[in-house]
């Protein structure tokens, strides 16, 4: 792995990993790691979505729960 010290290892089920390797290959990713990182980045956007925060903030302001 490149960037030693900047990566961490994550344990996942062996069978799941085998499926990930296959799909990553078919989808054209250079490595399974690259595929997993891409999927996680996309998933994280759901939690860190700024539009989501913006809409919630507008709702809460209207309801009088934030300044």
């Amino acid at each position: 792995m490149f960037g030693f010290g900047k990566n961490v290892s994550v344990k996942i089920d062996k069978d799941l990993y085998a499926r990930v390797v296959k799909v990553a290959d078919v989808a054209g990713y250079a490595t399974a790691d690259e595929f997993i990182a891409h999927v996680l980045e996309k998933e994280m956007l759901h939690f860190e979505d700024s539009k989501s925060d913006e809409d919630i903030r507008a709702k809460l302001k209207g309801l009088g729960y934030i300044s």
Binding site: H46, F47, E48, D49, S52, E54, D55, I56, R57, A58, K59, L60, K61, G62, L63, G64, Y65, I66, S67
Partner: protein
């Protein structure tokens, strides 16, 4: 320091602040009332008075609404050993120099949105442009992110309480909360404080329109 805290665990920071949280209209005011009835001191400035949406009062501290922007959050320490209401969106802005026991209210999202929409109408506010479908998605992600955060925060302990269960079986919920907070509360008085008549936006009624 990091190494030492990992090795020996985190030192407690005085009495924990009891936080009642959740989405607005998920039963947070009812929970505040339960805890007050059970014998806990509630921190409120009484500025937001009771109205048609919360006939028994809001139990809020106005300053908390500014938690996101305010830099001096030392006032939160005053709530050590007491209860403070902080809506879920503002939890991430709580200062880390306190321990928190968080009672997190969960309620069916259709009920939450129906109740929020009524409240917006009463307040003659729009509450932004997102429709209920988008807000449901936003709230689901928001609630998931709180759970992720709760796992990371060493100074948080969280108990999720379902609003419908509290209304249906106040005794069991009071017992559960009392255990979570150390066992010194008056469970009978807590369950008496539950007012089922205030459970007005029920999903079965919403579905019938």
């Amino acid at each position: 320091m990091d190494f030492l805290s990992r090795l020996f665990g985190r030192a407690p920071q005085g009495e924990p602040v009891v936080i009642v949280s959740g989405l607005p209209r998920s039963g947070t005011s009812m929970m505040m009332k339960m805890l007050e009835a059970g014998g806990l001191s509630v921190l409120t400035d009484g500025e937001r008075v009771a109205d048609v949406d919360n006939p028994k009062g809001y139990y809020e501290v106005e300053r908390v609404k500014n938690l996101e922007k305010e830099t001096d959050k030392s006032y939160v320490r005053e709530a050590r050993g007491k209860v403070l209401k902080v809506i879920s969106f503002l939890l991430k802005f709580l200062p880390d120099d306190n321990d928190y026991r968080i009672i997190f209210m969960r309620r069916d999202l259709n009920e939450v949105l129906a109740s929020q929409n009524k409240m917006l109408k009463h307040r003659q506010e729009t509450g932004g442009t997102a429709d209920d479908k988008a807000m449901t998605e936003h709230y689901l992600n928001h609630l998931a992110s709180i759970r992720v955060m709760a796992r990371k925060k060493e100074n948080w302990q969280v108990l999720e309480v379902r609003y419908d269960e509290a209304v249906k079986d106040g005794k069991s919920v009071a017992k559960q909360i009392n255990q979570f907070l150390g066992g010194k509360l008056d469970e009978a008085k807590m369950s008496e404080a539950v007012d089922a008549e205030l459970y007005r936006n029920r999903k079965d009624k919403i579905a019938k329109g």
